[in-house]
């Protein structure tokens, strides 16, 4: 009944790209998920393989080693990735950082970093959150002081995705005298060339076990002033805000992929499982719950499709992206909960994909801006 891709993806190219994505993921991701969960991080080669196959740089301009496609192609890939059930590979961050550079980077910065991001030679991280400050940019205390044409960085960051593997860190730091959110800048740190930079332990999380999430420490780390995104400081807040639309929509895209995979798995399981000599699927409660879950996925699919169209047209506003983020993650968590319930005891066993999907889903309501923050942004759009 439903298309395998969001209804909004109507071009033939998207469909072809989805096919290619699935093929790549079936080979390079699905067979390894369990191992990555055990090792707490994906394989380094995954990045370069994906780079070679063109999946990392699809929306990076061709001039910088990318595919020059609209971002909806990245969304296709992330949707298909989420459908595999893997939550270890922090590949969406790569796209987010690439677009910071594409949008605001100087020519030199684009040439320096984008080809590596496209090839997988570079792995990106965004270092925003600090211990004790969540979504609150005003409270950033990591400092990058200008000293002889260099920025001297001191501070620490936490909950950083790709924290163990990233070698290009997009750091949110305070550069000027200005207090509050407006005094922050984005500074790129190439980790191979940054004495004083240190990674903390791979943090133990409730879910997303295959993803390396870490604290990062900066102690008198020096980078050239030219590592300031766009070449000058104080624009971090605006830069972050403008790109958050993409980041937030991605969370909705991932939610949709996860939901499709959960509904499919649960429908299969309940058809196999016998209870009191009937299929679990045949009980009215099961049918209602599955119908509800399926509806949530289909309705979200249409919304994500519309958002992607607007994204490519450049008309996706922050409030709508916030809706995709909070609604998508909310629906994902509800569907995860209901599906797990239908698996009974098995749903609680860590080896079952549905159990992992449940634990993985929870983070989506928090990162990328807590859902409460999303609602606040939507409310602001109503106050006009």
């Amino acid at each position: 009944m439903s298309d395998a891709i969001p209804a909004g993806w109507k071009s033939e190219d998207h469909v072809l790209y989805a096919d290619a994505s699935r093929q790549f993921l079936a080979q390079e991701v699905s067979p390894h998920i369990e191992r990555w969960r055990k090792q707490g991080v994906v394989d380094r080669e995954l990045w370069t393989k994906a780079g070679e196959a063109g999946f990392l740089g699809a929306s990076i301009p061709e001039a910088y080693g990318g595919g020059g496609a609209p971002r909806s192609f990245d969304a296709v890939f992330f949707y298909e990735h989420a459908r595999t059930g893997d939550s270890g590979w922090g590949v969406a961050i790569q796209s987010i950082v690439s677009h910071y550079i594409t949008a605001y980077g100087s020519e030199e910065q684009k040439q320096r970093w984008l080809p590596g991001l496209a090839s997988g030679e570079r792995i990106a991280a965004v270092a925003m959150t600090e211990p004790g400050c969540g979504s609150d940019l005003q409270a950033v205390s990591t400092v990058a002081e200008l000293e002889n044409g260099q920025l001297r960085i001191n501070g620490s960051k936490t909950f950083i995705t790709n924290g163990q593997m990233a070698n290009l860190i997009c750091l949110v730091a305070r550069t000027g005298e200005v207090a509050g959110a407006k005094g922050v800048s984005l500074v790129f740190v190439e980790t191979e060339d940054a004495p004083g930079f240190r990674r903390g332990q791979n943090l133990e999380k409730l879910g997303m076990k295959g993803q390396d999430t870490s604290e990062l420490f900066f102690e008198d780390v020096r980078v050239p002033e030219s590592n300031l995104l766009g070449g000058s400081g104080g624009h971090g807040f605006i830069q972050l805000m403008k790109q958050l639309v993409w980041e937030r929509l991605l969370i909705g895209v991932v939610a949709l992929g996860a939901m499709d995979s959960m509904v499919e798995a649960t429908a299969s399981y309940t058809k196999e499982r016998k209870l009191f000599s009937r299929r679990l699927f045949d009980l009215q409660n099961t049918r209602m719950k599955l119908a509800e879950a399926k509806t949530k996925a289909e309705v979200l699919r249409s919304f994500i499709g519309d958002c992607l169209e607007r994204l490519d047209r450049g008309t996706l506003d922050p409030a709508t992206a916030s809706m995709a983020k909070w609604w998508g993650s909310q629906m994902q968590c509800e569907v995860a909960d209901e599906c797990l319930q239908l698996f009974g005891g098995y749903g609680y066993m860590a080896e079952y994909p549905i159990a992992q999907a449940f634990s993985d889903a929870r983070a989506q309501k928090i990162y990328g801006g807590a859902n409460e923050v999303m609602k606040e942004l939507i409310a602001r759009s109503l106050d006009v």
Binding site: T129, G132, C133, G134, S135, D136, Q138, A139, T158, F159, L203, E204, K205, L206, G207, K274, L275, F276, N285, C333, L340, Q341, G344, G345, G347, Y348, M349, A350, E351, A355, Q356, F358, S359, R362, A363, K365, I366, Y367, A370, N371, E372
Partner: protein
């Protein structure tokens, strides 16, 4: 408000004892139990010494001969262990694997198994659920065939709590496949017998609890290890469901209350956009709403305890409490984690662990679906 039930100085003294035990022996080691995947078996001896493991049992076998109100107090306090797995380990031993033995076991069997269990010298587990028979107890297939004075047991049991620590199992088996509900028996099976094997299971939460799958391959135990009469196993097993469900309500709710208290502190300390999280209306509404829900669950549980103490039937109340409390606890954990933000996703945070621990509440000990079906039946549908 609950003065009628817990007012006596005995209750207060008993509560103080359990609270001290929980705060000194359990909470400080909560993370250690997670790492180990089970609680320290030595704790059972300590609990035995404190008289915690046979509260309602006959003093003849080391029990305390108290009524249900003391059990309620104990599980209210143990529920604050900050480790739902640890809490569960105790309640399985006291409310699930020993009750049939205490009520129906032969004198010999009680001397051999109940006395050391109450003393905490041995740890027990109950083995009912099977891989292909979840909520439907009557569909179990593990089989005991009589061979002279022995049973020969073959089959498998799933989701067994205390799997690693248990010295013996209270095992429900089919002894006569043609006898319907009269074809089941409860048999005590030591876990160190030849042919008994156990695989531990990896769960998304309850990390402090050793959950396992047992396999029985021609395991021989004397027929005298049968609890009560051969063929009465199903009925004996069913009788204890009310107690174990009520205990689940009480300890789950206690865990939720502890989490609420800790979350309150967190919101007071956490500064967001220039003011404490606790001063935001959303926080206050959510916290107040949770409190109201928890109080309703509390009163529901107390109503059941009151009925049991008075010797009345509390089946409907307990069934209602089970489904209600489980959902409240999950909602509380979900909301408290959200208030913790990113930190709530870390394994070290109480909110995070509670979120994955509590999730089992609507599945274990009678799933929501089973409870609702059962309650509907009792209500005349």
């Amino acid at each position: 408000m609950t003065t009628d039930l817990y007012a006596s100085s005995e209750h207060e003294a008993f509560r103080a004892t359990i609270r001290k035990f929980t705060e000194q022996e359990l909470r400080p080691r909560a993370r250690e139990f997670d790492e180990a995947g089970r609680i320290d078996k030595v704790l059972f001896k300590k609990m035995g010494a404190l008289g915690m493991l046979g509260l309602r049992y006959d003093p003849e076998y080391g029990g305390a001969g108290l009524d249900w109100s003391f059990s309620a107090v104990m599980h209210e306090e143990l529920g604050r262990s900050d480790n739902a797995g640890a809490t569960l380990a105790v309640s399985v031993h006291t409310e699930m694997s020993t009750p049939s033995l205490a009520q129906f076991g032969s004198e010999e069997l009680k001397r051999q198994y109940l006395i050391p269990a109450i003393a905490g010298e041995t740890v027990s587990a109950v083995a009912v659920t099977e891989p292909d028979a979840g909520s439907d107890v009557s569909a179990i297939k593990t089989r005991a065939v009589r061979d002279g004075d022995d049973w020969v047991i073959n089959g498998s049991k799933m989701y067994i709590t205390n799997a690693a620590n248990a010295d013996w199992l209270c095992l429900l088996v089919v002894t006569d496949p043609d006898a319907g509900y009269s074809g089941f028996s409860q048999i005590i099976v030591p876990t160190d017998l030849p042919g008994v094997r156990c695989d531990l299971l990896d769960k998304i939460g309850l990390w402090g609890s050793d959950t396992g799958q047992f396999y029985f391959d021609d395991v021989r135990v004397p027929v005298s290890n049968t609890i009560g009469d051969v063929g009465r196993g199903f009925q004996q097993q069913m009788m204890q469901f009310q107690d174990e469900r009520l205990v689940a309500c009480i300890s789950t709710l206690a865990g939720a209350e502890l989490l609420w208290e800790e979350t309150k502190k967190w919101t007071e300390e956490r500064i967001l956009f220039g003011k404490p999280l606790s001063k935001m209306q959303n926080t206050q509404f959510k916290m107040a709403e949770m409190w109201a829900q928890m109080l309703a669950a509390k009163e529901l549980g107390l109503a059941a305890v009151r009925a049991l103490v008075a010797g009345e039937d509390a089946t409907k109340t307990i069934t209602a409490a089970k489904v209600f409390t489980s959902n409240v606890a999950i909602d509380v954990a979900t909301a408290c984690l959200q208030l913790h933000g990113g930190y709530g996703l870390m394994k070290e945070s109480m909110a995070g662990r509670a979120y994955v621990d509590m999730r089992v509440a609507t599945i274990g000990g009678g799933s929501d679906e089973t409870m609702l079906q059962y309650l509907a039946k009792q209500l005349g549908f």
